[in-house]
């Protein structure tokens, strides 16, 4: 692995912009950030804060045409994007991309985009408002197997650049950068450890996860919590590991029929409703239970090597019903304590 020193990330952005379309978090007037195609000129420096949405939509498209039908022939419509770089992805979102890489390993649409992508991660040095990445092995520092390059802001204001894949090395070709100092890595580790220390040290999340993993929660808990679920789909839209989709057929402007897939949510009442009206998850409590045990269960860990949750905290912010990750964990722990008392 190579390590370099940068005074500013712009050098790297400009170099990459010659071969890749650059996507970055771009802040609006409110200071909220969105993943967008960065203007070629001028490139803005990157932000370390979590954007409202993860870059999930750049690989698992929120609307994607799957195939078209002209009356006789079905034609697959795989996208062919130009090479692009995601500049400045936080650890939680990179962990989620790695998770979705496994889930969508055989999906040609996802892979067509994914193969064209270069991932440049950025370490977080301060906890974000709702994040708990450190409790689910998803941050705050970027893991080397989740990104092609990793940027780390040093106390001096300079940047440490780690190149963590062949793709990353290849992308740097033609750019000469000074090597990083020999103690830069130690400094990085210290800064990341310091960041972890700054998170709230309440054990609630760990305890909540343990309760979920033990499958020891009764119906009554989920039925009661389920009343608060509006099925707004906020959590599943913003969750970087969620992958459910629906399909519908639409007409294109050439008179063909196109099957399109679009982000769906297992929290909708009709998600499993069949034409016969049979619905195994008609109750909100059932859907809620499945959502959380899909994020945290021994089976998920066995399949993916980690939890389905990356601790980004977006569900907590966006849930009007007060049943996002933090709220659910708090509730699970309180419920367990009440039961222990009885």
């Amino acid at each position: 692995m190579q390590f370099y020193q940068l005074e500013t990330t712009l050098i790297l952005q400009q170099h990459l912009a010659r071969r890749f379309q650059i996507y970055q978090r771009i802040d609006d007037l409110e200071g909220d950030g969105h993943w967008q195609l960065a203007a070629a000129d001028p490139l803005t420096t990157i932000s370390e804060d979590l954007p409202i949405s993860s870059p999930k939509g750049l690989f698992f498209g929120d609307r994607e045409n799957l195939f078209s039908f002209d009356g006789n022939v079905f034609r697959e419509t795989i996208p062919s994007p130009a090479p692009f770089a995601l500049f400045g992805v936080q650890s939680c979102d990179l962990t989620a991309i790695a998770y979705q890489d496994k889930f969508f390993v055989d999906d040609p649409y996802y892979q067509a985009r994914r193969q064209q992508a270069l991932l440049i991660g950025i370490d977080c040095l301060n906890p974000c408002e709702h994040g708990f990445c450190h409790r689910v092995d998803a941050g705050p520092g970027v893991a080397t197997d989740c990104a092609d390059m990793i940027l780390h802001r040093q106390p001096s204001g300079n940047w440490l650049l780690l190149v963590s894949s062949d793709k990353g090395e290849e992308a740097l070709r033609g750019l000469t950068l000074p090597a990083a100092d020999s103690n830069a890595l130690t400094e990085r580790k210290n800064q990341l450890d310091h960041c972890v220390q700054q998170f709230d040290d309440s054990p609630t999340i760990d305890q909540g996860i343990e309760i979920l993993m033990s499958h020891n929660i009764d119906d009554r808990f989920w039925q009661q919590a389920g009343i608060q679920c509006l099925s707004c789909s906020g959590c599943t839209s913003l969750c970087p590991t969620c992958s459910c989709y629906g399909t519908h057929d639409i007409a294109d402007d050439k008179g063909n029929i196109v099957q399109q897939r679009f982000w769906d949510s297992c929290l909708y009442e009709s998600f499993q409703r069949e034409a016969s009206q049979h619905n195994p998850s008609a109750q909100a409590g059932t859907r809620l239970q499945r959502f959380w045990t899909h994020k945290f269960s021994p089976q998920t860990t066995a399949q993916f090597g980690r939890h389905g949750c990356v601790g980004c905290g977006r569900c907590e912010q966006t849930c009007p019903g007060v049943i996002g990750a933090h709220s659910i964990m708090k509730r699970l722990v309180a419920d367990q304590e009440n039961r222990d008392l009885c």
């Binding site: 409110e30 967008q36 750049l58 608060q228 949510s265």
Partner: protein
């Protein structure tokens, strides 16, 4: 993937959440919530999340349409405007200006609405202007004007977090106003006590500390009983009453005897009524939030007055965490009212028949205006049937689906000589128009919306208008111009806003620049309150005396009660995932999939008596009409009550509802009518409205 993100305001309900439209080129491809928005704080409801589908150009009307015997055919704007203005001129010449009317849209911007009433008043010379507030909060406007001097939400959404007791009556804020519903759930988790008064077990009722499951229409009996309990225990705020109210003694006399009759009148146990009375009156801060379950009755205005009596008697107003808070339904119904799209007031609730106001507006607009109060929307349909009303311009409304007694509405609209409808898509009402004009969606124009807490927010245009669609103020201006008037001669929405603000005291301190700085401003915003007003009536009320009026009211029976022929009471409700007539939300494949198999919610006890099983096809009949749907077993409605959402044109609840009106506000009694439910042949498909009407 989106190329950029535009900050705007959600077009659905009155919460006015901040929303980012994700745009690719000139197409909305998705949305994001706004963490920095003071109310929505990074949240959206299912409707908000579906916004991109709602404005999808797929089935948008993109050119003007003319109807002839074969149906609709496209035409040019030029031709459409000529036809419209010719007919308008003829109607005015033959029948006078009062044979015309404008129904504006509570979903369109303040600028669109200001333009609409100015067209009617300054160009046509009539006060026949109205909009759907008639059928939602007209009793609020009328009732609170009488008691407090002003008809708007007294507090703000964030007051929910300062309330110790939250009383939700006749409202279902987790389904519509979902983000405010979420605030209420959060406040309860943080320790607030929740009292819900509703004939159905709504979601909040299931979470409530106290649920008063009263009989539909017995609001006054219940509130009077609570008042009697409060007064008898001396729990009322005597200091507040003495200094800030008038009429207490009459009120005390009016409620005397209500508690003993309440259990029969309301169906609620006295112990529960007393518990609610104690909790509300003794709370440090108690907040009332209410909706259609209070207003949509023949006693609607009195119901509102009754709530006002409760809040005033307990001094629960004029401070944080308190107040009387009508949940204005649409994204801009507050604004449409503020803009004077009402037959009796100009912008800012200045009366048309007040001579000073009449002079002010006549001078400002440079023309002599009518000082005769105009017709309400329901008045217009009645006058159309009677033959004295001939021309209507209507935009962003679907009264055939959303107004009561739709057969009557349909007949009235068909009788008109001219019906012009401006819309995004071909709604049931648009199908009856002589001319359909293509309207721009909220994303295709800029302007301002005023949410339920009086917050005026500035929208940013995200897309250029599709096809030949135009913002409403623009085609309204084009009509004025064709008629030879320069009254609507503006170049920008900002010009309209500034003109309006100069004439509207409660908006006088606002400008686009300031709105943009601060996520909007709450009126009144003027010299005394340059940063707007979060809480009304802090020091004095807006009545002429400065004191609030306590007005004793007595229970008024609903127009229809259950009888042998129509043994069940039908009420209406909203579902979380659909909005209004469904013209936008039903374009989302996800929300449309959420539509249940049937929409008659019925208690299993009532259903079994008629041999109706869950999901069986049923016919529902009232004195007005008939429809078919499927029965949905639920314990959420008590025996004797059935409920239907009104979003679905194929089984429109307004086929059945009663247009009997509250005499003061002309509000129709949408919340209660008598119906008969019968099982259809098992296995047969319920017939939709088009089939039943013989249209195919």
């Amino acid at each position: 993937m989106a190329t950029h993100s535009i900050s705007t305001i959600c077009p659905y309900c009155g919460v006015g959440c901040g929303i980012n439209l994700l745009v690719d080129g000139n197409t909305a491809v998705g949305v994001e919530p706004q963490p920095c928005h003071p109310i929505s704080r990074g949240q959206l409801c299912a409707k908000g999340w579906s916004t991109a589908y709602g404005i999808d150009i797929g089935d948008r009307i993109s050119k003007p349409l003319l109807r002839d015997q074969h149906g609709f055919h496209e035409t040019s704007w030029d031709n459409a405007l000529n036809i419209i203005t010719e007919k308008l001129t003829t109607i005015i010449a033959e029948s006078g200006a009062d044979a015309l009317g404008v129904i504006s849209s509570a979903r369109a911007t303040n600028e669109d609405n200001y333009a609409a009433q100015k067209l009617a008043r300054a160009v046509f010379k009539t006060n026949n202007v109205d909009h759907c507030a008639r059928i939602c909060h007209s009793p609020t406007v009328a009732g609170l004007k009488m008691t407090l001097g002003s008809g708007a939400m007294t507090n703000s959404a964030e007051d929910i977090f300062s309330a110790d007791v939250i009383m939700v009556i006749g409202a279902d804020p987790t389904e519509n106003h979902s983000i405010i519903g979420g605030h209420i759930m959060r406040a309860q988790l943080q320790g607030a006590k929740l009292i819900v008064i509703d004939p159905r077990k709504s979601r909040l009722a299931k979470l409530a500390n106290i649920h008063l499951q009263l009989k539909a229409g017995s609001n006054i009996a219940l509130i009077n009983a609570m008042l009697e309990e409060i007064i008898s225990h001396q729990w009322h705020d005597q200091d507040f009453i003495q200094h800030r109210c008038e009429g207490f003694d009459e009120l005390a006399a009016a409620v005397s005897g209500s508690l003993v009759t309440a259990p029969i009148a309301t169906g609620v146990d006295s112990a529960l009524i007393c518990a609610a009375a104690k909790a509300y009156s003794q709370a440090n801060n108690a907040m009332i939030l209410y909706g259609m379950g209070v207003t949509q009755y023949v006693s609607g205005t009195f119901n509102v007055i009754s709530l006002s009596n409760l809040a005033l008697t307990c001094g629960q107003i004029g401070r944080p965490g308190t107040g009387i808070n009508p949940l204005r339904g649409q994204n801009n119904v507050q604004g449409a009212c503020d803009m004077g799209c009402l037959p009796n007031v100009y912008p800012g609730y200045q009366a048309v028949d007040d001579s000073d106001t009449h002079h002010k507006f006549s001078a400002a607009w440079g023309t002599e205006l009518s000082n005769k109060k105009g017709l309400t929307s329901l008045g217009m349909t009645t006058a159309a049937m009677e033959g004295s009303f001939h021309g209507l311009i209507l935009f962003g409304e679907d009264p055939v689906v959303t107004d009561p007694d739709q057969n009557h509405v349909r007949a009235a609209l068909q009788k008109l000589d001219l019906l012009v409808v401006a819309e995004l898509t071909m709604t049931e009402t648009a199908k009856l128009a002589d001319v359909v004009l293509p309207a721009a969606s909220f994303a295709e124009k800029d302007g301002t919306f005023t949410n339920c807490e009086r917050r005026v927010q500035h929208l940013q245009q995200a897309l250029s208008p599709t096809g030949e669609t135009r913002a409403d103020w623009r085609w309204l201006a084009a009509i004025a111009e064709r008629l030879g008037s320069d009254q609507l001669n503006w170049d920008s929405t900002e010009e309209i806003f500034n003109e309006m603000a100069a004439l509207t005291p409660i908006y006088s301190g606002m400008s686009y620049h300031q709105l943009d700085q601060k996520h909007g401003l709450q009126w009144p915003c003027n010299e005394q309150h340059p940063l707007g007003t979060a809480i009304l009536h802090r020091d004095k009320f807006a009545t002429s005396s400065g004191k609030a009026q306590l007005i004793g009211v007595h229970p008024i029976a609903t127009d229809e009660t259950a009888d042998d022929q129509y043994p069940l009471i039908l009420t209406t409700n909203r579902l979380h995932f659909h909005y209004g007539c469904g013209s936008m939300t039903r374009k989302s494949p996800l929300l449309e999939r959420e539509t249940p198999a049937g929409i008659l919610f019925i208690n299993p006890q009532d259903a079994k008596q008629k041999n109706i099983h869950h999901l069986d096809p049923v016919g529902v009949r009232s004195r007005r009409g008939y429809l078919e749907t499927r029965a949905m077993y639920t314990e959420d409605v008590p025996p004797g009550l059935v409920s239907m959402p009104y979003h679905f044109r194929e089984a429109p609840s307004n086929q059945l509802t009663n247009a009997a009106q509250d005499p003061i506000s002309k509000m129709p009694e949408l919340k209660a009518c008598a119906v008969a439910v019968t099982a259809l042949e098992p296995g047969c498909l319920p017939r939709d409205m088009d089939t039943l009407r013989g249209v195919q």
